[in-house]
Amino acid sequence: MTTIKSLEDLKKAREEALRKRDAKVASGTAQVIVGMGTCGIAAGARDTMKAILDTIEKDGLNGILVTQTGCIGLCEKEPIVQVIIGDQPKVTYGKVDSEVAKKILKDHVINGKPVADHVIQM
């Protein structure tokens, strides 16, 4: 990582990071974001995360970016998983256990059909 010494450096770093992110979006990469705050983990987000990673490995899936984030304030609906495919709007799922996570991967990420039962209306 290069050291940032001025406002220009910061702007450059921002553009660089943005470019990296946009490249992923442009290539149609699916982003799966798991809420990993304490509330999420307590509700079982680690199992959800594990199920997602296992399924990706087992089925040899490509182009799926799995990341974590903090809590979004809907602690009651944890574990929460957000799915962004390409430039489509974000879909937020609640109460995602490992079974639901597998279903989301299969139906939504691969076949493009959101799992309606678990979608949270924001």
Binding site: M1, C39, T67
Partner: protein, 544 residues
């Protein structure tokens, strides 16, 4: 979060439902879609919003117009007139008398939206907290760059004062003024501390900020250090927050690597570094002077004040102590300016407040809303009403060190000054919502049990007073209280407030004062009739 221009609420108490509120709601959904207004209007079913004569009610913000009784057939006209053409739908407004009484709060709300407004939680739940790149994409460290390269400390203080930022830890002290005190204090070595010892029961807003957006706190601490002239900072974080600690450690490493911490930050003379100090489970260490003692390696007991930490803090040097949520507001204010910040909240308390909703509501969780929203709105809009449609009895604010808010005060705007005027405190932002099944004696007993255990024991009023108050309350709950106990309780509550050394003892008497003020009849029933009206207290006749 979508930028909405208007908010539509439909009442959904049992009377409204019976009169077709659900059909009205569905019709509204259809019509809003029909007029292609989906992206600018939010539609919500809320609980009981007050009077029933004209229900179902449809309330439209920001104009705060109340329509009612609305029938399914009226909806097309209403949406076309009000939401599409922007004028009041003639003939549908609720009768004027509906505007009085329980729903009078609406007129006070005119011109503003009670919608969620995320300033400090803007990035939480969006970015990857372990990635500094993600933070930088979302305008991270720009406020620090701006402060270091374009502003002098005086301008930073001015901006914060003009923005009207007040401490979010509970006391509401003006932040800019506090920073200025530390700057003015003599001495070359100064410290900044972030108080992340969030130990108020039921409060978890700071944890969410730290876990979801750790760099925001690092950035704000660096700005604070530059402004007050400090070169070293501490984050005092409670021991139980292991995940938040891990993420902060990682964030600090990343910030050091990229040059936001260390020497010559942004090519200036400014140097700054941060330490994380883990608490060990004492509630009292959230009190700023006890926190400082704890960092120094001593027993966590509050110091006598004055002198205040702003002149004699950590290692007897001038020290700035700010709450996590306060610091999280600093970056956005410097980036967007004071004027922008003042567009949220009320004139005396601008900005937003993060509340944690818990207790007997249908939905619990965390919200960030403009200051000045009322408790009724929080319960109706965000709590989605009370479980099993039971009546709302009281709310306990601020973990333990808050107030008991009775139903009669649920239309008071929640900001520092309005609450102070009503004689209650906002506290740290936890809202424990209780329905009619909660016994006030039991609630006060639980709170006093907490205080008597967490009292550090340094000063007598707090050490003895809490214990004695707990004993008296226990006797009342066992059915062995006497009426003279109430006089004793009132005296104890007053003594705790007047004589205690620090905030713990000073607020410990508040629950007693509040139940005697607002629920005296219920307390007296325990004594005179030997009956607990809610059936919670044991009433076994044992006396301790």
């Amino acid at each position: 979060m979508k930028a909405i221009r208007s908010m539509v609420l439909v009442s959904s108490d049992p009377v409204s439902i019976e009169r077709g509120a659900k059909e009205v709601y569905q019709a509204l959904q259809r019509e809003i879609k029909e007029f292609d207004l989906e992206n600018e209007i939010s539609l919500t079913m809320v609980g009981d919003v007050g009077r029933h004569e004209a229900s179902p009610l449809v309330i439209i913000y920001p104009e705060a117009v109340i329509y009612g009784p609305v029938k399914e057939g009226d909806v097309h006209f209403l949406v076309e007139e009000h939401l599409y053409k922007g004028r009041i739908a003639a003939g549908l407004q609720a009768p004027v008398r509906e505007l009085s009484g329980k729903i009078a709060w609406l007129s006070a709300r005119k011109g503003t939206l009670p919608a969620e407004q995320r300033i400090v939680l803007e990035r939480a739940g969006i970015i990857d907290p372990d990635s500094i790149d993600d933070y930088i994409i979302h305008d991270g460290y720009q406020a620090l760059a701006k402060a270091l390269t374009q502003m002098n400390p005086e301008q930073i203080f001015d901006t914060l004062e003009k923005a009207g930022l007040r401490g979010r830890g509970g006391a509401g002290f003006p932040t800019g003024t506090k920073w200025r005190f530390v700057k003015k204090a003599s001495g070359t070595k100064k410290y900044v501390i972030c108080n992340a010892d969030e130990s108020e029961p039921g409060t978890f807003k700071d944890r969410l900020i730290l876990e979801g957006d750790p760099h925001a706190i690092i950035e704000a601490l660096a700005i604070a250090a530059y402004a007050v002239g400090a070169d070293e900072g501490y984050i005092y974080i409670r021991g139980e927050y292991t995940l938040a600690q891990q993420r902060l450690h990682r964030a600090i490493e990343q910030a050091r690597e990229i040059g936001f911490l260390g020497e010559n930050i942004f090519g200036t003379e400014f140097k700054f570094d941060l330490h994380i100090h883990s608490g060990a489970g004492a509630y009292i260490c959230g009190e700023e002077t006890a926190l400082i003692e704890s960092i120094e390696g001593k027993r966590g007991e509050p110091r006598a004040r004055p002198p205040y930490p702003t002149t004699n803090g950590l290692w007897d040097k001038p020290t700035l102590v700010n709450n996590v949520e306060t610091l999280a507001n600093v970056g956005p204010i410097l980036r967007n300016g004071a004027q922008w910040y003042r567009s949220f909240g009320t004139p005396s308390s601008p900005g937003t407040k993060v509340y944690t909703i818990l207790g007997k509501t249908n939905v619990t969780g965390l919200i960030e809303v403009p200051m000045g929203i009322t408790l009724r709105e929080v319960i109706a809009i965000y709590g989605k009403g009370i479980k099993d449609e039971k009546p709302f009895k009281l709310a306990q604010t601020g973990g333990s060190s808050g107030s008991i808010i009775p139903a009669s005060l649920q239309d008071t705007p929640m900001d520092f000054d309005s609450f102070a005027k009503a004689g209650v405190a906002l506290g740290s932002g936890a809202l424990l919502i209780c329905d009619e099944d909660t016994c006030v004696v039991d609630l006060a007993k639980v709170l006093l049990n907490f205080f008597r255990k967490e009292s550090c024991g340094k000063c007598t009023p707090c050490r003895i007073g809490n214990q004695r108050a707990y004993e008296i309350l226990t006797n009342i709950s066992e059915g062995t209280g006497a009426l003279s106990d109430l006089t004793d309780l009132a005296l104890l509550s007053d003594n705790l407030y007047q004589l205690s050394n620090c905030g713990l003892g000073q607020t410990a008497g508040a629950p007693i004062r509040d139940i005697l003020n607002y629920f005296r009849a219920e307390v007296e029933a325990h004594i005179r009739l030997k009956v607990c009206p809610t059936g919670v207290c044991p009433m076994s006749g044992k006396r301790i």
